[in-house]
């Protein structure tokens, strides 16, 4: 049967419940069958788009507050209409043809009523007209009020009495922090993989010894990516229609955030809020739902931001204060600081900083660090601002600056600013001529926030180009990667008691590396290559004595991640050909632990852990008595390892036994057919000959190649 015919036949069949079939099953309904499926069940998605009474009404606006023009002044009425039209075109950038209708109602005597209706081709124009013209001063006496027509209906139909909202039934999500109760404290990680794109699988594993344990596996759990919340409570998966949040032991869905075409998302530091972002759809001139801020607990939409810039919006453009009370967004020459109490601007106005280039929050305090660009004669400025009082705690002026980057220590005690500076500047003629910098050099400005009173700023000059900088998460060590004459070197700086920073050691490295990755617990640091390098290297360093523990070659290295405890480092391979993808676990000393191959791996992330609840004293006590605890845990580890290797041995034994059972039967048959084989080879028992090679006699053959005779004298 022609396959095309078949598919068309089956299609018509499903629609009409009774198309005839040439052969195969009969799908016809029995006679007298009454279809009990309603249309809205069958095609709810299509019916939703059925035109309703209010359709098109969202493109209609009412302009109120227009001057009243008497009937006898026809020319003035026309003039008014022209002025209003021009005004609309000016504000909406629409053309004459986008007006479908304009209506100026008149009194019985023919004079205008002081308001007018406009209908546009697109609802977008109505929105823009309201944005631009509402509150517009038409002349001295007249201020316009512009509204959507449908809003009148909406507000008119609001009940006058306030109704208490219905209490939503409590939904039990179980213990969302169950994974912290694991007796052996196994950390979890998420893998997203799939051999074909568009058919992604996701799985959560526990990092158990010898072999990881799969806890959950789902096909199509996410459409492309997924993120853990910063404390590890939730897993957010990305879908066409928005975000889904999962949690608890069974990874049940907790809530959803509907945001079409969501491309990026970010939790606030304490995971109370989540920001979802989508790129601006092409058909909208302005997307007023580009970024949406949600309350994770109540699932309520808290605020939406519009985005009209050409660049794709990124989750990092919204910056959170560490306590979640504030978040900041950069705008031109100002920071918009919002309070989460009201989701309005703090003090109802944005904080103006002319020439603002970039800003960041301290990870622990309500401090903002920012820098201001250099303008011809005014130097660049680094500032540290207390957000609650909006006053600068410290600021420093710098000349000849091209760029600044901020690096906070995780505890917020230190902040390094990498300042790119120049010796000469060449300006082309004209206002937009390109500017060229010559004699580039770097220096670090280190803000020390450990003192109570003031904030000392230390300058450290570094001549060589800086590749990367990173603070020890809980200490005062700063690692700087520099490159000079194609040799990459790593330098260690440390803060002294008088807050001066000095170079402790500079080590030249054997390979080119370009990233620094500190263990989350400090002391150990790994220098590694980025994904662009053809051959990956990992250099493990113990910063207590600045010794290189291991120098590992990891062939294709895409990403490096420490587990939350700082015991393991994962080197992740995600090649383009999707082959050989997987991850390798190293100990913090650079010892190979194990490698897992995952076909089509596209994402690996450790589940974060919330900060420890133990007090500093308790932690110190544990560190002091570590020797007391180690034998206990070592014994436990050994037991687990034994158990695992015993399992492997048992499995092998079973396989071997099964195989030998098969083989013995077959070999017996083979042996008993020996006569058959001898007969095949004309009575020669080659097996016997081959079994005793020593009995073969070596035969020496002498072949005379040529004969020369030399007559003797």
């Amino acid at each position: 049967m022609d396959p095309r015919k078949r598919s068309s036949a089956s299609r018509s069949d499903t629609h009409h419940h009774g198309g005839h079939y040439e052969n195969g099953a009969d799908y016809r309904d029995p006679p007298g069958y009454v279809d009990d499926i309603k249309d809205d069940e069958l095609m709810a998605d299509i019916l939703k788009e059925e035109p309703g009474k209010s359709a098109g009404m969202e493109s209609v606006i009412i302009i109120d507050g227009l001057p009243v023009v008497p009937a006898e002044q026809k020319d003035r009425q026309e003039k008014l209409k022209n002025v209003v039209r021009k005004l609309i075109i000016q504000h909406t950038k629409c053309t004459q043809s986008d007006f479908l209708e304009e209506v100026y109602p008149v009194e019985e005597d023919g004079s205008t009523k002081g308001f007018a209706f406009f209908e546009f081709t697109e609802p977008e124009f109505a929105k823009l007209a309201i944005q631009g013209m509402n509150g517009y001063k038409f002349d001295k006496q007249h201020t316009l009020a512009v509204d959507l027509f449908i809003d009148f209906d909406k507000y008119a139909s609001y009940p006058d009495e306030w109704e208490e909202p219905a209490v939503r039934p409590f939904k039990e999500h179980g213990n969302l922090r169950y994974w912290l109760e694991s007796e052996d404290c196994y950390d979890q990680y998420l893998l997203i993989y799939g051999s074909h794109s568009g058919c992604e699988e996701a799985a959560v594993y526990a990092n158990t010894p010898v072999e990881p344990t799969q806890l959950e596996h789902r096909d199509h759990w996410t459409d492309y990516q997924a993120i853990w919340s910063p404390l590890g409570t939730y897993l957010a998966t990305f879908h066409q229609k928005g975000l889904a949040l999962w949690g608890g032991k069974e990874h049940k869905q907790i809530t959803r955030f509907a945001h079409q075409h969501v491309s990026d998302a970010m939790f606030s530091p304490k995971e109370r809020y989540i920001l979802t972002i989508r790129p601006k759809p092409d058909f909208l001139p302005v997307d007023d739902q580009s970024m949406i801020l949600w309350d994770v607990v109540t699932s309520a939409k808290k605020k939406a931001f519009s985005w009209d810039s050409k660049e794709r919006p990124s989750a990092s453009s919204v910056k959170w204060s560490p306590d979640e009370n504030f978040f900041g967004l950069m705008s031109k020459d100002a920071i918009n600081i919002y309070e989460t109490e009201t989701f309005g601007l703090q003090n109802k106005k944005s904080h103006s900083i002319p020439g603002l280039a970039d800003f960041t929050w301290s990870p622990t305090q309500n401090y903002l660090a920012y820098w201001v660009k250099e303008i011809t004669d005014i130097p660049a400025r680094l500032g540290l601002m207390d957000v609650t009082s909006r006053t600068d705690v410290r600021s420093k002026q710098l000349f000849s600056v091209t760029d600044c980057q901020f690096y906070w220590q995780k505890n917020g005690e230190y902040m390094a600013v990498k300042v790119n500076r120049y010796k000469h500047i060449k300006r082309g003629k004209g206002p937009n001529a390109p500017v060229e910098y010559a004699g580039l050099y770097y220096n670090l400005e280190i803000f020390v926030l450990t003192t109570k009173k003031e904030v000392p700023v230390e300058s450290v000059e570094i001549r060589d180009p800086i590749i990367d900088i990173a603070w020890e998460p809980n200490g005062n060590k700063l690692v700087v990667l520099t490159v000079a004459e194609s040799v990459t070197s790593v330098s260690f700086y440390s803060g002294r008691l008088d807050h001066k920073f000095e170079l402790i050691k500079k080590i030249p490295l054997r390979h080119k590396v370009d990233r620094i990755s500190w263990s989350p617990m400090g002391q150990f640091v790994v220098l590694h290559t980025s994904a662009s390098s053809s051959v990956g290297y990992l250099v493990f360093i113990d910063t207590a004595d600045l010794s290189i523990l291991a120098d590992v070659e990891h062939f294709v290295l895409s990403e490096v991640q420490w587990d939350p405890t700082g015991r393991y480092l994962t080197a992740i391979t995600m090649g383009n050909n999707k082959k050989d993808n997987g991850y390798t676990l190293y100990s913090f000393q650079g010892r190979y632990v194990r490698n897992e191959k995952v076909e089509g791996l596209s994402m690996f992330t450790w589940r974060p852990r919330p900060p420890t609840l133990l007090s500093l004293e308790k932690q110190k006590e544990i560190k002091k008595n570590l020797k007391k605890y180690t034998p206990e845990f070592e014994a436990r580890d050994k037991m687990l390892l034994n158990k695992a290797s015993k399992e492997v041995a048992e499995r092998r034994k079973r396989q071997m036994d099964e195989f030998m059972d098969f083989l013995t039967v077959k070999q017996h048959a083979f042996q008993s057919a020996r006569h058959k084989r001898i007969a095949l080879r004309g009575g020669i028992d080659t097996e016997e000959i081959d079994a005793h090679p020593e009995e073969l006699v070596e035969e020496k053959l002498e072949i005379i190649l040529s004969v020369t005779s030399t007559p003797l004298e």
Binding site: D580, A649, R652, Q655, F670, L680, R681
Partner: protein
């Protein structure tokens, strides 16, 4: 021990084989001249073809896909892309017989007895892939159309083949991954294991006792099968196309050779291509060793009949003869 590097072919190796005693190593390549070597020292004894016989050059005129030698090392059979098979005197390299086929000959091998050989031809246009068995003792077989058996492949090209136990069957591997057997007595297809592999079957090599065989496939695996029932016994995963696989005659080990396909090689690093010879445990299916050396895919592997050395032939045109270190013989996976 340092491997012997056999340099003599100037194009990719297609198949290598030891004789029964293991003192000779036969190699076929994409050049026109099958070659025989001393396996002990890598010395080249000579080639089949590339000489003059009665004033004219003789031998194959294209890729030689297959080579085999009788158990008594008296005759050599070769099959070529020039659409001929040739029967040679092993010692003198004289052509005993040669016949044109409809299409290129992809595989050829002598039976256990050495009295018959089969050859399998490629499918081309409307010409089916054929499996033909001839008797070397019969003059009419050697000079005419006569044969013991000539049977077209059911659907897909025969891409690899081997004699079954006691010369009673021929096991064939196909371009779609199927495995089948032909019953010699019934002169017809007997057992078929559809979808045994998911890609082209590249090579079939039997165990010493014919109980089982290993089939290598482009589907990145090699699998162990029962020679009679064609049941899959074991699977060896390699992540890369497998071109050839052999079973050790003395240990429960499998040798695999392959690598990223030749056309993709320039884009990949040698390390990423996985051009190593890889050792797997026969029963546990675990890989336990790799031997590197080739800088292109390995096209053919062979174990020495005494199990103490092995050879690999590569896309790079070299044959490498490796002798196992003594600790290999002591090595056992614990269980």
């Amino acid at each position: 021990m340092k491997p012997l590097l056999l340099q003599g072919h100037d194009r990719s190796i297609t198949q290598i084989k030891y004789n029964r005693e293991g003192d000779l190593l036969f190699s076929a390549a994409k050049d026109k001249y099958p070659t025989v070597w001393f396996s002990a020292n890598g010395e080249r004894l000579g080639t089949y073809g590339n000489g003059k016989e009665g004033g004219a050059s003789y031998g194959h005129n294209g890729v030689v896909w297959a080579i085999d030698v009788t158990w008594d090392s008296s005759k050599v059979i070769t099959g070529s892309g020039d659409a001929t098979w040739r029967l040679w005197d092993c010692e003198t390299a004289k052509t005993l017989s040669s016949q044109a086929t409809l299409t290129g000959v992809r595989s050829a091998a002598f039976s256990y007895s050495g009295n018959e050989f089969f050859y399998a031809t490629d499918a081309q246009g409307k010409k089916d892939s054929l499996l033909v068995v001839k008797d070397v003792r019969s003059a009419s077989h050697m000079t005419g159309e006569d044969c013991i058996l000539s049977i077209p492949s059911l659907q897909n090209r025969i891409s690899a083949a081997a004699w079954g136990p006691f010369d009673e069957t021929i096991i064939t591997g196909h371009s779609n991954g199927d495995l089948s057997t032909v019953e010699m007595r019934a002169k017809d297809w007997a057992v078929t294991h559809g979808g045994a592999h998911a890609g082209v079957v590249m090579d079939i090599q039997k165990s010493k006792d014919d109980i089982m065989f290993v089939a290598a496939s482009k589907d990145t695996t090699a699998k162990l099968f029962d020679s009679v029932t064609l049941d899959c016994l074991k699977t060896y995963k390699a992540d890369r196309p497998v071109n050839s696989a052999a079973i050790s005659p003395i240990k429960q080990h499998i040798l695999l050779g392959g690598g990223q396909e030749a056309m993709q090689v320039t884009m990949t690093d040698v390390r990423q291509g996985r051009f190593e010879a890889r050792f797997y445990h026969l029963v546990f299916e675990e890989e336990f060793a790799r031997v590197k050396g080739h800088f292109g895919p390995v096209n053919s592997v062979a174990m020495h009949p005494d199990g103490t050395s092995f050879s690999t032939g590569g896309e790079d045109g070299y044959v490498r003869v490796h002798t196992f270190d003594p600790d290999y013989l002591d090595f056992e996976l614990s269980y």
